[in-house]
């Protein structure tokens, strides 16, 4: 991935989160407090405002800017979680002018690592982790299988989407949904869903690579 690809990934994410603002908020209405779409859109709108200054940044700085902007503007659970994820992702690609397949997988690993470090959730607790863990596994598998970057990111995104869907039958034990106890069952987790959207953007950016 080039620096321009990274920018396109961020732009795509900002667009897709805006399109899915109501959808994510509706998911959060069912088992949370009806703000996840609003929160993510607020954060990525702030990032959009920074696009002009981001134009001259290198890859790690761009990703770091996403992280720190999310921390400064999102709040809620998603702000520190995604903020830390992007900051760690930036750290994982420090000094790189372009990302190889292995770099992208390392970035994903750091991204998930940031969320786990902050949120302390295990897989199966009905959180972002349930989209990102299978995504990372799929990406690592694909990398080992010698797949292209297009295939790696596509499989990661698909696994994330399936992981998000698979949160439906789960009983939440982390985040706001955990307060609902049994009533959290039967609803898709909003954070897992936004994670899958972010990874689908990554895959779309890598189409043809």
């Amino acid at each position: 991935m080039t620096n321009e690809d990274i920018m396109r990934w961020i732009e795509c994410t900002a667009d897709v989160l805006r399109e899915n603002r109501t959808y994510l908020t509706d998911l959060d209405s069912a088992i949370g407090d009806a703000d996840h779409g609003i929160n993510m859109d607020r954060g990525f709108s702030a990032i959009r405002d920074k696009f002009p200054t981001m134009a001259t940044m290198d890859i790690p700085t761009r990703i770091k800017t996403v992280g720190s902007t999310l921390i400064s503007t999102v709040g809620g659970a998603a702000g520190p979680l995604y903020g830390t994820a992007y900051l760690r992702a930036a750290g994982a690609v420090a000094g790189k002018q372009e990302l190889t397949s292995a770099d992208v997988v390392a970035m994903l690993e750091a991204f998930l690592g940031g969320i786990v470090a902050r949120g302390k959730a295990q897989p199966g607790e009905k959180t972002m982790v349930d989209a990102l863990t299978p995504a990372l596994n799929a990406a690592q598998q694909a990398l080992n299988d010698g797949a292209t970057i297009e295939q790696i990111t596509d499989r990661a995104a698909t696994a994330a989407e399936e992981g998000a869907k698979a949160t439906i039958p789960l009983l939440a034990t982390k985040g706001r949904a955990s307060y609902l106890g049994e009533r959290s069952i039967g609803h898709q987790d909003p954070g897992a869903t936004s994670s899958s959207l972010i990874l689908r953007c990554l895959a779309e950016t890598c189409v043809g690579k």
């Binding site: 407090d33 009806a34 520190p80 034990t173 706001r176 307060y179 106890g181 009533r183």
Partner: protein
């Protein structure tokens, strides 16, 4: 969506501007950064106390900034915890050299953001301690989950701890008192209606004309269970029994009791609930030595109420009775 607002995205900032205009004798509001700071902050030698959380819970927390309570409050977007930048700026603004206490309600978002802020403040050389409130008995407590929510006790704790801080007590003592109040108190809430997050534009959940939610928090979220509408006596019993049991309150003990409205419930109904609570505790020979009845920690325009009890001893009673002067709580001055 029927609300007295202009644009949904301006709700928080315009409400802050209104607070500034109404209470300029008590508070200074940084509308851009979304920080409400006590007029004479920082008070030299006094532990600074800050709290924060999503907006939509008014008067909490901004209405509790002033003498004898908070030094600053950080309101986030509606139902969304504020960001570390706000908390860091507030921490710096109220640090009078004796350190700063962060009062954090136990929600993942609040905890994570305050955690980051505390790290940043400590890196700047400010002594910060954090106390997390988690008084909601509707939620099972466990090491392996997000744990219980912080709700009504937060209000009473801010008052009591604020009074102690005014005496010049050191940070360790102020934070110990905060933990004590949290340990001494429990709450539970219920909703007759949902509420509408302005930016979402529609009710967070739908509730039948003959249904209610028991075990709600303060973010318009559905509760632990949905049941048929019941009388005020029955509802009071449903909320109070788990609290009394969890606290293991015994005959002969005294409590500070709060009957809190969720925002859309009129005072006449809250007094009916208080009457029911009073009769119920009287039957158990538990004395309500102090009380609050009104809207203190709300969920926008939700109809419903919550009950909070804090086991009182002489120390807590003394700091409860001490003078306070904030937009929403005032006595003794």
């Amino acid at each position: 969506m029927k609300k007295l607002i202009n644009k949904p995205e301006d709700v928080v900032k315009e409400a802050l501007a209104g607070m500034q205009a109404a209470h300029s004798d008590l508070i200074s509001v940084d509308i851009e950064q979304q920080i409400i700071v006590r007029k004479n902050a920082p008070v030299q030698g006094k532990v600074g106390i800050i709290s924060g959380g999503g907006s939509g819970h008014e008067p909490m927390h901004g209405g509790f900034v002033g003498f004898g309570m908070l030094d600053a409050a950080c309101p986030g977007a509606v139902f969304t915890s504020p960001v570390p930048d706000q908390m860091l700026a507030a921490t710096k603004a109220v640090n009078g050299g004796a350190g700063v206490l962060h009062i954090v309600k136990n929600y993942t978002g609040d905890v994570l953001n305050f955690e980051m802020a505390a790290e940043l403040a400590q890196a700047d050389g400010i002594d910060v301690e954090s106390v997390v409130t988690n008084d909601d008995v509707a939620v099972q407590d466990s090491l392996y989950t997000a744990g219980r929510r912080g709700v009504g006790v937060t209000v009473l704790l801010e008052k009591i701890v604020g009074a102690l801080a005014e005496t010049g007590a050191p940070l360790s003592q102020v934070s110990a008192m905060a933990r004590k109040v949290n340990d001494h108190g429990r709450s539970m809430g219920m909703a007759l209606t949902s509420c509408i997050v302005p930016a979402a534009g529609k009710p967070t959940f739908d509730l039948g004309e003959d249904e209610m939610e028991i075990g709600i928090g303060i973010h318009g979220e559905p509760g632990r269970r949905r049941v048929k509408l019941a009388s005020a006596l029955e509802i009071t019993e449903m909320l109070t029994t788990p609290i009394v049991e969890d606290m293991d309150l015994k005959a002969g003990e005294s409590v500070l009791a709060m009957v809190n409205g969720m925002g859309g419930t009129p005072l006449i109904e809250l007094y009916i609930v208080f009457d029911a609570l009073h009769r119920l505790l009287h039957g158990k020979r538990i004395t309500i030595a102090r009380s609050l009845v009104g809207n203190y920690i709300t969920s926008l325009e939700m109809a419903g109420c919550s009950i909070t009890l804090v086991r009182l001893d002489d120390e807590l009673m003394k700091y409860w009775d001490a003078p306070v002067h904030t937009p929403a709580l005032r006595w003794g001055m």
